[in-house]
Amino acid sequence: MKSRKPSIPYLIWMVIFTLIPLVTIVIYAFTDKQGNFSFEPFKNAFFYSNVFFRSLWIAFLSCLICILLAYPMAYIMSRCKERTQNLFVMLITIPMWMNFLLRIYAWVILLQNNGPIDMALSLLGINANLMGNAGTVVLGMVYEFLPFMILPIYTVMSKIDNNLIEAAQDLGSNSVQIFKKVIFPLSVPGIISGITMVFVPAASTFLVAQYLGGTEDIMIGDIIDKIFWTDQNTGSAISLILMVAILILLIIMNIFGDEEAIS
């Protein structure tokens, strides 16, 4: 039990299947097609900078809507009886287990022309093209990732000691004050971990925009997918930028999260 040896197979494995592939990406990002050192891939990558920023924007919007929808749900859940709480956790977990393409496809069926919602709206005399815009992409993302926001916030809230709330009541706080001074500050770590669980996959997701959005709405993940089969250097450069951007974001979130937890 005191030996480090058992970890050797994994350390070797990790070098081969995690570190070397990443190093390969870095090398490819800094070389041209002939294998010479070059900034060419990054120059090509900048061509997609507005797709990149729009992906971050869509991920940000999705994340924000997830927080707004998840927070009340997590709060209501944490105030329920324990049996009801477990039931809700199960109900929220079940859709998470469905394959993400099926969940997106379900929205394609719902929203397509002559689909159920379109038909219902046209009965009311509204003719709208529901698919193929940025709003639908955000909708799909929110549907995809909402459980990943509800569960961490709920976990943190369910651990809040009831005595704290009672103490605040005894000291004369009304329910708004209790929320502002007790429940919200204590739930921030849950929000932070929810953001990391939603934002990272949302910003780098692919196919969601291809299924639900228009041609204008493709995201950086779709670009990486499309470009990697033909131009691996530019693909590597975009992947590297995405990876570093998300890493920086996670570090910021971490610092922010820790500080909030202390104060």
């Binding site: 994994y10 990790m14 990406i25 490819y28 394959n99 002559n114």
Partner: protein
């Protein structure tokens, strides 16, 4: 207080509707005797077609084989790694743990393309094509960190004296490990295994990039079917997957409730 209660009940109901309506619609149209979303009468023919589709059955088989092999291998590799890593101290330990977390933190698509790039280069050098083996290797690589993450806290919480006690009572190191240590960390090993198994079953992105041109898993099959929108067979498949998940979740819940009760009685 009453008004608030009703408001929160409505909110919960709407949220559940949002979560389940799309799945319900998918299942509803699996019984539709027509290819579009116009109701043409009840049928089970899509289910029959689904079971007669060899490609889908083969990909289901592939998915299960990969999930079993990857999760077993990742569990062994990860448990050994967790034991070894827990004996590192200070900077080295932080460095190893951070490196090990890379596949968890990194966007899946980056993990996928980086592995694809390496496998392509190796494939050219050693003359092989991506397929079953590359998918298996990739799955083991992204599953193992989850095993380490679930075993590590168990090792930390374990009282190291019981290991020493086993040695004092005449066990050799291997016996002390198999008779004492492994029982202490078992819950972590099991949850690591289950996590690996479900992640492997459900993985699309990394499989998509490492599968080559011929190897199919169920998520890849789902991709092909939803992309081309050819047949409501996909709806039938969704319905069956949903029922499977539902049954498993209810079984887990009942088991949890029973064990909670048993604990209460003790």
């Amino acid at each position: 207080m009453k008004k608030k209660n009703i408001a929160s009940k409505i909110y919960v109901a709407l949220l559940m509707l949002f979560l389940y309506m799309p799945i319900a619609v998918l299942i509803f149209f699996s019984f539709n005797d027509g290819k579009t979303t116009v109701w043409k009468g009840f049928t089970l023919k899509w289910y029959v077609e689904l079971f007669n589709d060899n490609a889908i059955m083969q990909s289901l088989y592939n998915t299960l084989i990969i999930a079993v092999l990857a999760s077993v291998f990742a569990t062994v590799l990860g448990t050994m790694a967790a034991i070894g890593i827990s004996n590192f101290k200070g900077f080295k330990r932080t460095a190893i743990q951070n490196a090990s977390n890379i596949p968890i933190i990194n966007p899946e698509i980056v993990t996928g393309v980086s592995l694809m790039l390496m496998f392509t280069l190796l494939g050219v050098a050693f003359n092989f094509e991506m397929g079953f083996w590359t998918v298996l290797l990739a799955h083991i690589s992204f599953c193992t960190p989850y095993v380490i993450l679930s075993v590590m806290p168990r090792i930390r919480r374990m009282d190291s004296h019981i290991y020493e006690a086993a040695l004092d009572l005449g066990c050799n190191q291997w016996q002390a490990f198999t008779k004492v240590v492994i029982h202490e960390i078992m819950p972590g090993i099991i949850s690591g295994f289950l996590l690996s198994f479900t992640y492997s079953l459900d993985d699309f992105v990394i499989t998509y990039f490492t599968r080559g041109s011929k190897f199919q898993t169920l998520p890849i099959q789902i991709y092909t079917m939803t992309h081309k929108r050819i047949s409501p067979k996909i709806n039938a498949l969704s319905a069956l997957l949903f029922v499977t998940i539902l049954v498993i979740m209810i079984a887990i819940n009942i088991k949890d409730r029973k064990s909670a009760k048993a604990k209460g009685l003790e």
